[in-house]
Symmetry: C2
Subunit: 226 residues, 2 copies
DNA sequence: ACCTGAACACCGTTCAAGT
DNA sequence: ACCTGAACACCGTTCAAGT
């Protein structure tokens, strides 16, 4: 058809859904979700925006695919072993994936389609809980609760620009200054944030584990109280 | 200045930040957050888009203001009474506010400014926990954990179009059909969702309270174990 | 089968101009 | 002080046309 001379332009790996999704995740990770537009993504791939529609149905489909790539990074828990340790590992690994891809948790709202990686992880969680001896009803409750906590914690962590305890302390200190004239209305914030957090900071990892272990302990108690 | 004859057009209440924010919340509630554009909001208020910029700095400022209106609907817990009952009431009231305004939880990601209603509720939570006898460190952990759970649960509830247990069962049933050929890979989903949820449904309210009480009980246990 | 140019119907925001 | 028209630099998506 076309002579070899006509396309001396830089060779491009052919587009595929996989390649589009991976490029989209990379772009959102690096520049934020609001910078992820069909046009910019296409440019990143050396192609025009309209070509993307050969591989994703629309922007919502793109986001569904991206989110399932994030789920693919989660370690699914094994069934039959130490269920608490397995679920703890999965929770930590989920949080890590959501931290690597900070845009992800904010995009889960309203998204009703669930990809295969999502289904696989949740199937494994259900299997782990059932093997541990939880009733079907308790299994549903236990999984919902853990997901709510994990996603909610990740959501909160995007609320603050600071990530290390020291950063957090600095931000808290600055906020005490910024809100100075209103502080009389918030005596407990002054005591707890001004008096403690602004000095000691806030350790996201430790706080996450505190709540996670409280939940797992509570579930274990309800399991043995049957 | 201008004669009375020159503006016989329909009298409009003058714009104000308050009026702009309330109209924005109403529009987002009714038509969804993606329908909330500066132009459509302006039209709703009988004005041009550019007039809004006299009352909000930009779209992000608009969203910050809207979210603080949602926080204003939350019952703050009282300090000194039955702390578990107070915090339970606050959690239920927060969830109710987030259900009335389904767009809200998805907009919390990355939002770093906190309005007065937000600060007021959180000050009250801290006060309640301190009065109950929690150390400053535990107070921080307890509040973070409750917020994470509440927001995360609300986020999950936007993932499903169905709200009543019966709706949920119908959706679960349909999904079993849709995913039929992949179901061999997910034996636990088949057992738990196919065998139970698709029949009994899923009661969001009951599930929320299950996790909430597990958390409050766990916190109480850690309080008395000091 | 896959890619593209042009076009459509939108966005948020700015700026100078009106009252 | 508050509102607006026109404009700028974008969006997602469709469609007919190219190879």
């Amino acid at each position: 058809m076309s002579s070899t001379a006509t396309h001396t332009k830089r060779r491009r790996a052919p587009l595929s859904r996989e390649r589009v999704l991976r490029a989209a995740v990379a772009l959102a990770d690096e520049r934020g979700i609001e910078e992820l537009t069909m046009r910019k993504l296409a440019k990143e791939l050396g192609v025009e925006a309209m070509s993307l529609y050969n591989h994703v149905a629309h922007r919502g489909d793109l986001l569904d695919g991206m989110i399932d790539l994030v789920f693919g990074e989660i370690d699914p828990p094994a069934a039959g072993g130490d269920w608490k340790a397995e679920l703890r590992k999965r929770a930590v690994s989920t949080r890590a994936a959501l931290l690597r891809h900070r845009w992800a948790v904010g995009q889960m709202e309203g998204r009703t389609s669930h990809g295969p990686a999502n289904l696989k992880v949740h199937d494994a969680i259900l299997g782990c809980l059932r093997a541990a001896g939880f009733s079907i009803e308790m299994t549903v409750s236990a999984m919902s609760m853990q997901d709510a906590y994990i996603y909610g914690f990740a959501l909160q962590q995007t609320d603050m620009s600071s990530q290390t305890p020291e950063d957090f302390a600095a931000v808290a200190q600055q906020q005490m200054v910024d809100y100075a004239e209103a502080l009389a209305d918030y005596p407990n914030l002054v005591e707890v944030v001004g008096g403690h957090v602004a000095k000691a900071g806030y350790d996201y990892e430790a706080e996450f584990l505190f709540g996670l272990d409280l939940i797992l302990d509570g579930l274990e108690r309800r399991l043995s109280a049957r």
